[in-house]
């Protein structure tokens, strides 16, 4: 048959590439030029009308690529045509995109070579539209097809495409914006006229500051440098949340307690709580006029104090907030440990404790390391809790926030502090890798696996209970006061029951045109739902794919790639927010003010958890399972879908839940990115908290919590548990 030498995927991609220049609108339609002709035309027609003539250069690589349609080409020739054509297309697109901006040449040196005017006019262009993005995608994918034909990744086009696609996305949406903001840390403006100079010396001088590195707290009552504060807090919270998460995971995964579902529910509550609310609840419970403080002072004459404002309060709030993530990561790992090993140990006469100590605990190591890493990094990046409860205790994230938005604005200082934070994260990452080492943690193999999970030794069980019970009670108090707060006039002052907060936020008035959502929260509520619904599946899919690539495929640049995926997670949200404006407010990738930038920001901020969960779970799965599937002739995509994915269910749930919940609860990154049309629930809540309207803020939070809870249950039902073929104890 004609063209039968080419797979359909290549044909489809070629069709997409041609459609991108012939049919799809090349430029972005923004509000101010919707009426002009430029906005809606495809690149080819723009050139034909004598506009944006440089776009003609984009056709050249397409002709090169289309040469593969010729009959009687060798595979080698096709490979060369696809790889070079794809590469050329990428270079052309990015080159013209970055060289020509809104107001003429962005790269003046190009203008000096070819002349400042092109066909009698200064060249200007807007950001890319659908045509531009389709062209980019097609070029990248066709290049991958070519590279696969050279035998890269055993010639598996799916794997090569996945790697280049992930690489491209991470470069565009993580590396590119982050590098923009880091470059700014050593660039100083020459004055209002524009132009910048490099100033490394000034940057170094800014780093030499006792408020960053000082160790005065060791010898006096003064505060230590902010780096030591952050580091100390991160280690305490990382270790604490891992321990608590482990206790919860062991109880939920291995014990026979009757009330396990309650524990599971309780353990996820904090992760679905909007920011500021936990801090606020802690103040109302333990502040100087707090509920418990009052009881203690009346009953035991313990003087009222402000211990909650400072490191204790922040630690407590962060433990509350981040233990659930550790729990979710560890639960997957605990459930994945094969009972046969533990049974083998017991057959060899090891008692329960020895089995736990020598088999179970060592197998938990990757899980523990990942949980600690995530807890540590989360603590470093958290800014809501230190803001509310920090008192005089400063951490890097708040310092960075106020260096960007405070009354003494200093972006280069913010970027430098962000750099320090990044180095700390990098170090944690490295330590984790060293600690896990090269040991083998595989416990899920294709072999019969019908052992019974070992029962926890009594000692371990009781010590877990020692953590789990008080912590659960504590959380009940915190959430009790949150629920009460939504239904009383003013928390901490006037406890008359009322529904007026819900009315303000979520009023629905019937009108002639049907129901009218007149409450002030509806807009942000719907926008948040929309953004969360779109970003969640993306985040999970991309996270799983990247996690799979990182733990199962070998390719060069893997460690750099792995590090880049952690970047957006490690950098404080405020810096990410500013970097996104710097990178995506101007062509070629112009998307500020749209809902898309929010979706993208969330996807790339939340994928690390999906990646880490996938990697932790996959480290337990014997690669011979995939190999068996591949040997039997299944493609790598089929293997991923039929073998790996079902075993990854806990990781899928973690990734879906985490990204959905994060979209509804994070603040700092998106505070610069929200627009009138796409305002988010959290920014609305923060505004209410700032205005002191705790009632409305808490009422809104209650609604969000209920919604997220319903969503988690839905996800759990939809994805389901993995069937590991284990017996139940009779």
């Amino acid at each position: 048959m004609f063209l039968s030498h080419l797979p359909r995927s290549v044909l489809a991609l070629l069709a997409l590439a041609w459609a991108s220049v012939l049919v799809l609108p090349w430029y972005w339609l923004s509000s101010f030029d919707a009426t002009s002709l430029n906005g809606s035309l495809a690149a080819f027609w723009l050139v034909a009308h004598g506009k944006s003539v440089w776009l003609a250069g984009l056709l050249l690589p397409l002709f090169t690529l289309s040469l593969v349609l010729l009959p009687r080409l060798s595979q080698r020739q096709i490979a060369w045509l696809l790889s070079l054509g794809g590469l050329l297309a990428l270079v052309m697109l990015l080159g013209q995109g970055f060289a020509i901006g809104l107001r003429g040449w962005d790269w003046p040196w190009v203008g000096q070579i070819v002349g400042t005017q092109v066909f009698g006019a200064i060249p200007i262009q807007q950001g890319l539209g659908f045509g531009g993005y389709a062209y980019l995608l097609a070029a990248l994918m066709l290049m991958s097809q070519g590279l696969a034909r050279f035998g890269l990744c055993r010639g598996d086009a799916f794997i090569v495409s996945s790697i280049t696609l992930s690489f491209g996305l991470i470069t565009l949406f993580v590396f590119f914006p982050v590098s923009r903001v880091l470059i700014q840390s050593v660039l100083v403006p020459d004055g209002p006229g524009g132009g910048t100079t490099w100033a490394f010396a000034a940057a170094l001088h800014k780093l030499d500051d006792p408020s960053i590195w000082g160790l005065a707290c060791l010898s006096s009552t003064r505060n230590c440098g902010v780096v030591w504060n952050t580091l100390f807090l991160g280690v305490v919270v990382g270790a604490g949340s891992t321990l608590l998460g482990l206790a919860f995971a062991l109880i939920a995964g291995r014990s026979q307690w009757p009330f396990k579902p309650v524990i599971r529910l309780l353990s996820v509550l904090p992760i679905i709580t909007p920011p500021f609310v936990i801090g606020l609840a802690l103040i109302l419970l333990f502040g100087r006029s707090g509920f418990f403080t009052g009881l203690l002072s009346e009953w035991f004459d313990i003087p009222r104090s402000r211990w909650i404002y400072g490191i204790y309060g922040v630690t407590l709030a962060q433990l509350l907030a981040f233990t659930p993530i550790a729990f979710m990561i560890l639960l997957g790992v605990v459930q994945g440990i094969s009972p046969s090993m533990e049974e083998a140990a017991q057959t060899l006469r090891a008692d329960r404790w020895t089995t736990f100590r020598t088999i179970t605990l060592p197998l938990l190591r990757p899980g523990l390391a990942n949980a600690f890493l995530v807890g540590f990094v989360e603590s470093l990046a958290d800014f809501g809790n230190p803001l509310v409860l920090g008192g005089n205790f400063d951490v890097l994230s708040t310092k960075i926030f106020f260096a960007v938005v405070g009354s003494a604005v200093d972006e280069s200082r913010a970027a430098l502090l962000a750099l320090i934070l990044l180095v700390m994260t990098l170090a944690a990452f490295w330590v984790q890798n060293v600690w896990i080492g090269k040991k083998n943690y595989t416990t899920l193999t294709g072999k019969g696996d019908s052992g019974l999970a070992a029962i926890l030794p009594a000692g371990v069980s009781w010590s877990c209970a020692l953590f789990v019970i008080p912590w659960s009670l504590f959380m009940l108090c915190v959430y009790g006061i949150i629920v009460v707060g939504g239904f009383v006039v003013s928390l901490g002052r006037d406890y008359t029951p009322t529904l007026k907060h819900f009315e303000t936020a979520f009023k629905i008035t019937p009108s002639d045109f049907g129901m009218q959502f007149s409450g002030s929260a509806w807009n942000s509520f719907f926008a948040t739902l929309e953004v969360a619904a779109i970003s969640t599946p993306f985040t999970a899919a991309l996270g799983l794919l990247i996690g799979y690539l990182l733990s199962r495929q070998k390719f060069s640049g893997k460690s750099v790639f792995e590090f880049c995926t952690m970047l957006s997670f490690a950098i404080p949200g405020t810096v990410i927010g500013v970097s996104y404006i710097l990178a995506f407010n101007v062509p070629p990738f112009e998307m500020t003010g749209t809902g898309m930038i929010l979706v993208i920001c969330f996807v790339f901020r939340n994928i690390p958890v999906g990646i880490r969960a996938t990697m932790a779970t996959l480290s337990q799965v014997d690669p011979s399972l995939d190999e068996a599937s591949l040997t039997l002739g299944a493609s790598s995509l089929t293997t991923l879908r039929r073998v790996i994915l079902p075993l990854l269910r806990p990781a899928i749930i973690t990734a879906l839940v985490y990204s959905f919940v994060r979209t509804m609860t994070s603040v700092s990154a998106i505070i610069f990115l929200v627009s009138a049309k796409y305002n988010m629930a959290t920014t609305y809540i923060v505004g209410r908290v700032e205005a002191g309207e705790y009632g409305v803020a808490i009422a809104y939070s209650c609604v969000l919590i209920a919604l997220m809870l319903a969503m988690i249950i839905l996800i759990q039902l939809f994805v389901g548990d993995r069937a590991l073929g284990r017996r139940k104890a009779s």
């Binding site: 919707a34 009552t221 938005v405 749209t594």
Partner: protein, 345 residues
């Protein structure tokens, strides 16, 4: 390979799906507004303007610092048309950086002097829309327990009886607290002002990040005394908190909330319409029902009964040009960090 085809189909489908959220704004005349006062006040303003002019208002509420950071990052391709509300010295900073546009409104003659003054200082780039005096509030319940006389003056706050009972924001993060430093320096002279703040430091229980936080802490009884803008304390008192407002006897400084048109605004005509409209008494009288008790800039706007009476206070002649400049601000903050923040208690 069929799977591969399906896979690429899915990817393409997702990309198309994204189109849904990234739909461009409509072509109808519109105005992109950033509002830096409380949401409760922003909303009726936007709605009323829409009703009167038919111009669609795309309103976002952001704090002053956040707005300034955003305008700066967006300078090469501004997305905002007008910035309404928020501390004047941040607006002055934006004017200094050339981020905003000069405009002379026909409403100018109706403004109070302080409003026109900041307009002149900024070469017409920003205008005062409201002002609020600095002072403090105390929790009457907590004070009764302490058994101390009511504080009336700045000098009363350094009374050792109030040890660990006063709260104020950190001037590095809050414009409110910086206004306090600038006020003290102008009232007492720089060295005496720093002596005062060092003495005050002994009584401070916490330097909060946000300028309005001490008013909430005072209303909840987390601190006995909070320093800040008086209208914040009035708002808590109106809601029923046991808070009493004090305009200090020695005199005090004040803030001016401002409004600026963004340079390169895409909807300049609509921005000018908003500018003129927002200065009318009718628009300004929307503040009080939204529990915002600042004094409005139009002389004809009625003053709400609950508002602190500016004419009964001793207001200093605040030099916004000097104390709003980046250089002076950096110098004073550095001195405050070195001498006050880390001083022993």
């Amino acid at each position: 390979m069929r799977q591969a085809f399906k896979y690429f189909g899915t990817v393409a489908g997702f990309v198309m799906g994204l189109a849904a959220v990234s739909s461009p704004a409509s072509a109808q005349q519109s105005l992109t507004l950033i509002c830096s006062v409380q949401e409760e006040w922003c909303r009726p303003m936007a709605e009323q303007f829409e009703k009167e002019t038919g111009i669609k208002v795309l309103m976002t509420r952001k704090s002053t610092g956040e707005t300034y950071a955003q305008l700066k990052a967006e300078a090469s391709n501004p997305k905002v048309d007008i910035w309404w509300g928020g501390t004047g010295d941040t607006h002055l900073q934006a004017a200094e950086d050339g981020l905003t546009e000069a405009y002379e409104s026909p409403m100018l003659p109706q403004m109070h002097d302080w409003s026109a003054k900041i307009w002149k200082q900024s070469n017409g780039r920003t205008i005062g829309i409201y002002s609020g005096a600095l002072g403090f509030g105390y929790n009457t319940k907590m004070l009764a327990q302490k058994n101390t006389p009511e504080p009336r003056c700045w000098a009363d706050l350094i009374n050792p009886k109030f040890r660990d009972e006063v709260q104020v924001a950190d001037p590095n993060s809050s414009g409110t607290a910086y206004t306090l430093i600038a006020t003290m320096v102008q009232m007492m002279g720089e060295d005496k002002a720093f002596d005062y703040m060092k003495a005050l430091h002994k009584n401070i229980n916490q330097y909060t990040k946000s300028g309005a936080a001490p008013s909430k802490a005072t209303s909840l009884g987390e601190t006995t005394i909070g320093i800040g803008f008086l209208h914040d304390y009035v708002a808590t008192a109106v809601e029923g908190a046991p808070v009493k407002i004090v305009a200090p006897c020695e005199g005090t400084g004040y803030e001016i909330g401002s409004m600026s048109i963004v340079k390169g605004a895409k909807n300049l005509d609509a921005a000018k319409k908003w500018y003129d409209w927002a200065l009318t008494p009718k628009a300004q009288s929307l503040a009080a029902p939204a529990k915002s008790y600042q004094i409005q800039s139009n002389k004809a706007t009625p003053v709400p009964a609950q508002a602190p009476k500016m004419e009964e206070m001793k207001l200093i002649d605040f030099d916004f040009a000097k104390y709003g400049s980046s250089a002076e601000r950096k110098r004073l903050l550095a001195r405050w960090d070195a001498e006050v923040r880390n001083a022993a208690k």
